[in-house]
């Protein structure tokens, strides 16, 4: 089993990097223009990376699902479910942080804004993935069926994340990031935050994979 989690060095880097990002988010930059609550624009440093990691997780689930179907290697199934779980975790966090952001910027935490509906729909899609896994007992069949579902779910997932919010006009300022609407200092902190969260994702993901490997060995004993 390859090393678990991150090496000591990388763990220190991750801790320091995230601490630096949080500090910079609070005191490194000033309020951002173009928001109803300029001071609260900083939430974007946290909300957007978390939302990006949710998508990363679900894409990872698809990737490992394809790998599993090709060679039926149980390790791929473990990584598929680990990625899906990571995706689901960050999707929940993105929903919460999105609602808090909405409450501050537009007064209402939930107004069925297209991006909010799509992120909840995303939760439903992958909640169904875990429901399916719990409904199949035999390990090989569970892995195969959930892999097929993960791949089939990719199409609606991509639609919900990338297409739906664009098709329907949205209050969401997400496009400020891409359209360069951010001031230079915000951009620096934003991409630093993105990096810190991605490293954190990697750390938790590898721990979750280790848990998967451990439980596969453990559950193989209890099957008898």
């Amino acid at each position: 089993m390859e090393r678990i989690g991150l090496s000591t060095g990388w763990r220190i880097v991750c801790g320091a990097w995230m601490a630096g990002v949080i500090a910079a988010a609070f005191i490194g930059v000033g309020p951002a223009a173009g928001f109803r609550e300029p001071e609260a624009a900083r939430i974007l440093f946290f909300h957007v990376p978390v939302a990006w990691l949710a998508v990363l997780g679900f894409l990872g689930a698809t990737f490992h699902a394809v790998r599993y179907l090709r060679r039926r290697n149980p390790a791929a199934d473990i990584r598929a479910v680990a990625s899906a779980e990571m995706g689901f975790l960050f999707c929940v966090l993105a929903t919460l942080s999105g609602a808090l952001f909405a409450r501050v910027q537009w007064g209402a935490a939930w107004n069925w804004d297209p991006r909010q509906t799509s992120i909840v729909a995303l939760l439903l899609v992958y909640a169904a993935y875990f429901t399916l896994r719990s409904a199949v007992a035999e390990p090989e069949r569970r892995a195969a069926l959930s892999a097929v579902y993960a791949i089939v779910a990719t199409l609606p997932m991509l639609f919900l994340v990338f297409i739906l919010p664009r098709v329907v006009e949205s209050l969401h300022p997400a496009d400020t990031v891409r359209s360069g609407g951010m001031s230079p200092d915000y951009r620096v902190v934003f991409f630093a935050a993105l990096g810190a969260f991605t490293l954190l994702y990697l750390w938790i993901y590898r721990l979750r994979v280790a848990v998967g490997e451990l439980e596969r060995v453990a559950c193989r004993h209890s099957m008898k």
Binding site: R72, E138, P139, E140, R220, H221, M223, K224
Partner: protein
């Protein structure tokens, strides 16, 4: 081997080689070290206590289930038959095999002929029904058959595409004497023209095999 006109050419010379086959579900080991070779004209009898994995082995030989270890190779002459095409070579008679209750016997056979890409006239299907002793039941719905007649229908269904390999799982279960005679005749005919594998615990049938494979220690 009469090739059905228009249907896929069914080869006669099919060989089966099984090497070090093993199957386990999780930690429950069913069997291991199963190796045998069969060429046309040979019959293998598989026997063993209940739960020793006879039916599972038959399911694996049909290409429906992956073994945990080991290999199964069907060869036509020298060519190795890919997994997808094993279906064309194999006929199965098994208690788990259920046909469509709402359809009549002839409709069932017509469907399986068409779906296997075979051209079979109703007259040919009627001959097949006669062969298994169901000549007057053609228009009856499969759901209304007795257990014995269902087993006969399974033979008709398995012989529909004249498979070079015939796999029988407990073939004479639920059959009356006439049924058993029919089954024995089918087995003998199959052995004369191809490969036969019979999974059974019936004392008499053990005598029939050119080779006997004992599972379950």
């Amino acid at each position: 081997m009469r090739s059905p006109d228009g249907g896929p050419e069914v080869p006669a010379e099919v060989f089966l080689a099984v090497r070090d086959l093993a199957k386990s579900f999780g930690r429950l080991g069913l069997f291991r070290g199963v190796s045998f070779e069969l060429s046309p004209g040979e019959a293998l009898v598989v026997t063993g206590r209940n739960g020793s994995g006879k039916s599972t082995l038959v399911r694996i030989l049909c290409g429906l289930l992956r073994p945990t270890r080991g290999s199964i190779e069907y060869r036509v002459g020298e060519r190795l038959v890919p997994g997808r095409d094993v279906k064309r070579l194999v006929g199965l008679v098994s208690p788990d095999l259920v046909l469509y209750e709402e359809l009549t016997l002839l409709e069932n056979l017509r469907f399986f002929a068409r779906v296997r890409g075979l051209r079979r006239s109703d007259m040919e299907l009627q001959t097949l029904l006669t062969q298994v002793g169901l000549e007057s039941e053609g228009a009856r719905r499969a759901g209304t058959l007795s257990t014995g007649m269902r087993q006969r229908l399974r033979f008709a269904h398995a012989l529909l595409h004249e498979p070079p390999v015939l796999l029988l799982d407990e073939p004479t279960a639920n059959l009356d004497d006439a049924g058993v005679a029919m089954a024995r005749a089918c087995m003998a005919r199959q052995r004369s023209r191809g490969i036969l594998v019979v999974a059974t615990n019936n004392r008499e049938e053990l005598e029939l095999g050119d080779q006997i494979l004992r599972l379950g220690g």
